[in-house]
């Protein structure tokens, strides 16, 4: 451990908030570093001084004797907002569940909206008419045409909007 790290952890060291390993490293460093020892001693001393002086400075202050009556009177004035208290009580008890339900609904609405958007977009941009020129050696097999047509429609996802026209060619491919 170096001096910078040691100084950085001085408050945690004094609080006893360091892990055993970090504390041991600090102790090791402090044993061999007079400058950090001085910094620790100064912080300890100034903390004790400030604590002592602040206590002395605040010592004459005591709560006024009629505080309870004043608090009750003030609290009574705010009774008009009892509904707010009731809502706050409800909210504090159920806020996690309400927040979870609200976020679930929000996510569901967002997903539904996106799905609708893409569906409409696909429908808008889909051509209303397909023309496929297919070349085949087995042009006398009607089931092949059926399969191929269905495949094309399904692949584009616009079954309800597309009209497929198939033109057969008798020329052989190169």
């Amino acid at each position: 451990m170096n001096c910078a790290r040691c100084r950085k952890r001085l408050y945690e060291y004094l609080d006893g908030a360091l892990s055993a390993r970090a504390r041991a490293a600090m102790d090791n460093h402090l044993q061999s570093c007079p400058a950090c020892q001085k910094a620790l001693a100064e912080e300890t001393a100034s903390a004790a001084t400030l604590r002592n002086l602040l206590r002395r400075g605040a010592e004459p202050i005591t709560l006024r004797g009629d505080m309870q009556a004043r608090v009750l009177s003030r609290a009574a004035q705010t009774r008009g907002v009892a509904w707010a208290d009731a809502f706050a009580a409800f909210w504090s008890g159920y806020r996690l569940r309400v927040a979870l339900a609200a976020s679930t609904v929000a996510v569901a609405v967002a997903v539904l909206g996106l799905w609708q958007h893409f569906r409409r977009s696909a429908a808008t941009h889909a051509p209303s008419h397909f023309e496929c020129v297919l070349t085949t050696y087995a042009d006398d097999d009607p089931s092949w045409w059926t399969r191929r047509t269905l495949l094309v429609c399904s692949k584009n996802g616009v079954e309800r909007f597309a009209q497929i026209t198939v033109t057969r060619s008798t020329e052989l491919p190169n």
């Binding site: 300890t44 100034s46 400030l50 400075g57 605040a58 202050i61 505080m67 706050a88 008890g93």
Partner: protein, 185 residues
């Protein structure tokens, strides 16, 4: 009456619970409020408002912190609002009255004079520095507790403590030897 019983009583607006709360924490809150705002009258008002808010929001207290820490959090919010209203106060690096408190050079000040000097210096710190000094050195809070109470990181608390003590070093008479290991009162 335990803290949990007091909170339950506050939820019911029980007079006994409030009396117990005032008896147990009232003076401590008043002193902390005084250190935070520097005025006894304001401090009494802050504690009154803290207790009213505690009664109204006792249902929100989940027991995750000590009851006093929760009360002090309410108080801190009120004093922060007060500091925001007092923004027109100009903070300077000099302590006009300090010279009257300084005894002969090289001689330690007496305890009352040192206390007086510190109480004069506190309001001259910026509000964030003022808060950390009170929380750390009067309330005796650990770094982590202060960070949680103020809603800032531990690094920020360390930085504020560092600059607050630096500022105090400049504001307090040198005779106090506040930052010397031999200068404790």
């Amino acid at each position: 009456m335990t803290d949990a019983e007091m909170v339950a009583g506050l939820r019911e607006r029980s007079h006994e619970a409030l009396a117990e709360l005032i008896q147990r924490y009232g003076d401590r809150l008043a002193r902390s409020a005084y250190l935070l705002c520097g005025s006894e009258t304001e401090a009494q008002d802050f504690v009154q408002e803290t207790l009213v808010q505690a009664m109204r929001s006792a249902h929100r207290f989940a027991g995750q912190s000590a009851l006093y820490t929760w009360l002090h959090g309410i108080l801190l919010n009120l004093t922060r609002h007060y500091h925001r209203k007092q923004r027109r106060v100009i903070y300077t690096d000099t302590l006009p009255e300090a010279s009257a408190l300084v005894h002969e050079a090289g001689r330690q000040m007496d305890l009352d004079a040192a206390t007086h000097a510190l109480m004069d210096a506190l309001p001259r710190l910026s509000p964030p520095h003022h808060e950390v000094v009170v929380l750390r050195y009067y309330e005796g809070m650990r770094l982590e507790e202060i960070a949680r109470q103020l809603g800032v990181s531990k690094g920020t608390v360390k930085s504020r403590l560092h600059y607050a003590t630096e500022a105090l070093r400049g504001l307090l008479p040198r005779e106090m030897n506040l930052f010397e290991s031999t200068g404790t009162y």
